[in-house]
Symmetry: C2
């Protein structure tokens, strides 16, 4: 026992390292933004070997998700989306996104994320934008064989169009609770919005 | 001169009536919600003839817009959208919406509106939802000959899908400033999103 106030028992050394990495990551994201931050830079700030960062966290997106208290690992969610028939990628994006949002355990943190995006100070919004565009949507777009052949500028447009639709869907279904979108079964929205997302990927 | 502090000169009687109607409308919307509020009820609350409400305000949506400090008359904007070739209705919705948002005079109030929708207390969100669904989007959807023949439930779904897309576009272009959506000319988005909105109206 260390005798520190508030400690219920001895903390394993691993937890201290993990906390040190998280604290360093918070600093690194705030200073360099999401795009500029690197796992190597975070390790340097924390004074640990970069391999330790990889040991505790499943990449930069997962580390960021933990900092913003996201109750899920976006790398695992993205992997589940990109794995499968490219012709069904649009439907998988909508189904996975809505399944994650529909889950009571996830919704509060996701709502907090949207609120940060809408009302947060500009530094937070910039980090969020970079995280969503390069860490999540950009990776999904590159997973489609046609979208992967587009110019980077065109690919960024497609990612932005997909993000617009999905953010709007979350806003309408879970925040404003727009009649017609809040009340319908998840699969009705997959049926309606899936082909739209697919169109952004393959046309 | 009345001698009241802060008054620069005599206030015309019309301005007092107008203010009384606005104050009554605020109460009525807060008590009954947007859908439940009526111009007749607002007149009763203000102690004026209902014809006076019609004299000063261009309907319920315009009155609500003034209360939430919207710098434009939604009835006029909606009229400009619904007037014209139904086959181009989707493109007109996107073009008008983005033109209004792109204008520096409008954006602060519209951003405040989105923030209310995302973070406001539930009473404010309910009013906003009813205003948008029945006062704005619902009217546009009913203007399309095909959409006008759908069941009310199906029409509500279409209105919700259109609102999702447009709110997401505003969020991505003006709030989060998603690369690819924030940086492109307005007409590129009309070209991309217009057919999607048209699809919600006619399929």
């Amino acid at each position: 026992m260390t005798g520190e106030v508030g400690r219920r028992g001895p903390r394993p050394a691993g937890e201290d390292t993990r906390s040190a990495i998280l604290a360093a990551a918070r600093e690194e994201f705030a200073t360099s933004g999401y795009a500029g931050a690197s796992l190597r830079g975070i390790a340097r700030r924390a004074g640990v070997d970069p391999r330790l960062v990889h040991h505790y966290f499943d990449g930069k997106a997962a580390l960021f998700a933990e900092i913003i208290d996201l109750p899920l690992n976006p790398a695992a969610v993205v992997a589940g989306i990109v794995d499968g028939d490219p012709d069904e990628l649009g439907a998988r994006i909508v189904r996975t996104f809505l399944t994650v949002w529909d889950h009571d355990d996830n919704r509060p943190a996701l709502l907090a994320l949207i609120r940060t995006g809408v009302t947060g100070e500009s530094n937070g919004v910039a980090q969020l934008r970079e995280y969503l565009s390069s860490g999540v949507v950009g990776r999904i777009v590159r997973a489609h064989p046609h979208a992967a052949t587009l110019s980077p500028k065109e690919r960024t447009l497609r990612a932005g169009l997909i993000a617009s639709q999905m953010m709007g869907l979350a806003l309408a279904r879970y925040v404003i609770e727009f009649p017609g979108v809040a009340g319908v079964p998840l699969e009705s929205l997959v049926e309606r919005i899936g082909p739209i997302i697919q169109g952004h990927l393959e046309n």
